[in-house]
Amino acid sequence: MLVLLLVALLTLLAPLYAGYLGVDPFRSNLRGKVEIAGEVVQVMQQSTEGLGLGVTPIGPTWNPGGYMLGADNQGRDVAARLLYGGRNSLFIASAATVICLVLATLIGLAAGFLGGVVDMALSRILDVLWAFPVYLLAISLSIVLLTSTIDLGLFTITAGSLALPVFIIGIIYVPYVARPVRARVLTLRHSEFVLAAVGLGLPTHRILRRDILPNLMPTIIVFVPILLALAIVTESALSYLSIGVQPPDASWGTIIQDGQTLLYSRPAVALAPGIAIVITVLALNVLGDAVRDALDPRGQVR
């Protein structure tokens, strides 16, 4: 929990770091210079081997004076991008989790409470989505959505916006949550206090709000850390495949991708965001275990 707060806090402080050092994490800076230990050094350094052609970005300087983790192949400060990228990664994961939970709860409630034809239809649709491999679904959605602007009537998603990965990740995990929610609603539907409420002739919306939702909360809360962890990993994977967050925006996944070409010369670029992901997801998984033990000791959640 502490670790999570710390990570979130650090990413919120991103503008402070970038502003203080005067580095722009989104614009390429091939001619930039930086002062290290009293010496002014080019950010992109001429190769000293062979013919002296080609440039390599500077490596980690480990001094808190800019380019702490070195620069990427556009001459941008990796540490600053890491913090800004963390913001995006965490934002996307949180928003996707909210979308997923809301959709899944609505579907679960409708299917479980109304039953009959509604349940049949929704369950079959969930079956299909469930069998569809997550990454393939995400890839098909992204490739189509990335190339075009979608007008959904209520709101428009422009190509390359952050809303895109949020929307995709939010949707692909719906079946994983909706199925257990539906099962829980179904048992609640036939529990005595709900039958009593129905017998009293209370309106449906009141039963749903006052009797069913509160009892559904434990089932939903258990999924929060798990979904967050899944969403962070999925986001980074999509960005790594260049179908998630679009440049010049950063996320942990895009930085790993940027770092791939520099892997052997400047490994810090790819290593740092990966370590950030591992720390965050690990903390979420530990939290998830704790929450599950507290709320649902016998639950089997994959």
Partner: protein, 322 residues
């Protein structure tokens, strides 16, 4: 028994149909964009777009378009890429299958052995330092993005420690067909296998441990203890056998999902030219016919694998059979 199998096969057919409709809708009926232009790729000539519009029937009703798409995918199999002019898509996909299968099969062997070890040892030494350590390690394994772990492995084995005794045998990135050389195939795949297996060792090890601990509170274990059987025998012959049932189901699902595309990231990182990397390259060129073909073929494979697992399960477990 036969009724169960038939019902499952019916369900499988329905799900496959559902997926194909879903894919069709995603690719061809997304509002606000012209599918013909999308299939043609970047900077296509207007004549090409016009030709595609006619060939795929975009000027006709949606069900006709769906029928045409399925016909080209499965019956005539003449779906062609427009980015790489005229290249047939389906043979390309089929050619890529061996690399993916080799990767996933090897990793599966590793992760089954690894997770059996982790689960059994952790459950047997419950609440000791060993147990805690193993559980923390598996959590870390679960938390690592596989493509990042792959890059770290590459960094170590290809660059930083390549000249030491530890990694000097590692060949350059890429796939060596089994038919070409057994040793080369093995060497090229060892590191990808380990990378892919780490995540699953973590997941399966944790679940197996939980199942084993639950099994240990059952009556038949107490009976076995009272009979004076050795702890090893109780663990392997009594507790492990029942705990393996959910393990088998999960294995089937994950194996199917990996062959069907989840191994994509590992293939990309290690430059193995399997189905996943084919999809990846198509993504880079926005080559839609290739993506369409891989997505449909892979998801059908996954659905079929799931159905197969369920049928096998009915054969193994008498309670399901009835």
């Amino acid at each position: 028994m036969l009724a169960t199998v038939l019902a499952r096969l019916m369900q499988m057919a329905f799900v496959m149909f559902g997926i194909s409709v879903l894919v069709f809708l995603i690719f061809f009926a997304t509002p606000g964009s012209d599918p013909a232009a999308r299939i043609a790729g970047r900077n296509a000539a207007p004549e090409t777009v016009e030709q595609i519009r006619h060939e795929f029937g975009f000027d006709r009703a949606l069900p006709v378009q769906y029928g045409l798409m399925m016909k080209r995918l499965f019956i005539t199999r003449d779906l062609t890429s427009f980015v790489n002019r005229g290249q047939k898509v389906i043979p390309q996909v089929l050619d890529a299958v061996p690399a993916t299968l080799s990767l996933v099969a090897g990793a599966a062997v590793l992760w089954v052995l690894g997770s059996l070890f982790v689960g059994v040892v952790a459950a047997a030494m419950r609440d000791t330092v060993v147990d805690r350590g193993l559980m923390i390690l598996s959590l870390i394994g679960i938390s690592m993005p596989v493509f990042w772990l792959g890059e770290v492995m590459n960094l170590m084995s290809q660059s930083r420690f390549h000249d030491t005794w530890l990694f000097s045998w590692v060949p350059g990135l890429g796939y060596v067909p089994l038919s070409e050389s057994l040793g080369g195939w093995f060497k090229a795949l060892v590191i990808p296998w380990i990378t892919l297996a780490v995540l699953y060792i973590g997941i399966y090890g944790r679940i197996l441990r939980a199942n084993l601990i639950e099994a240990y509170s059952e009556d038949y274990i107490r009976t076995a203890r009272a009979k004076g059987l050795s702890p090893t025998r109780i663990m392997l012959r009594h507790a492990l056998r029942t705990s393996l049932l959910p393990f088998v189901t999960m294995f089937g699902l994950d194996f199917g999902a990996l062959v069907g595309g989840a191994a994509l990231l590992t293939e990309v990182v290690f430059g193995l030219n399997g189905v996943g990397r084919l999809t990846f390259h198509a993504l880079q060129n926005l080559d839609l016919p290739v993506i369409l073909a891989t997505v449909i073929y892979a998801s059908f494979f996954v659905v079929a694998a799931n159905a197969l697992v369920d049928v096998l399960y009915a054969v193994i477990d008498p309670r399901v059979r009835k």
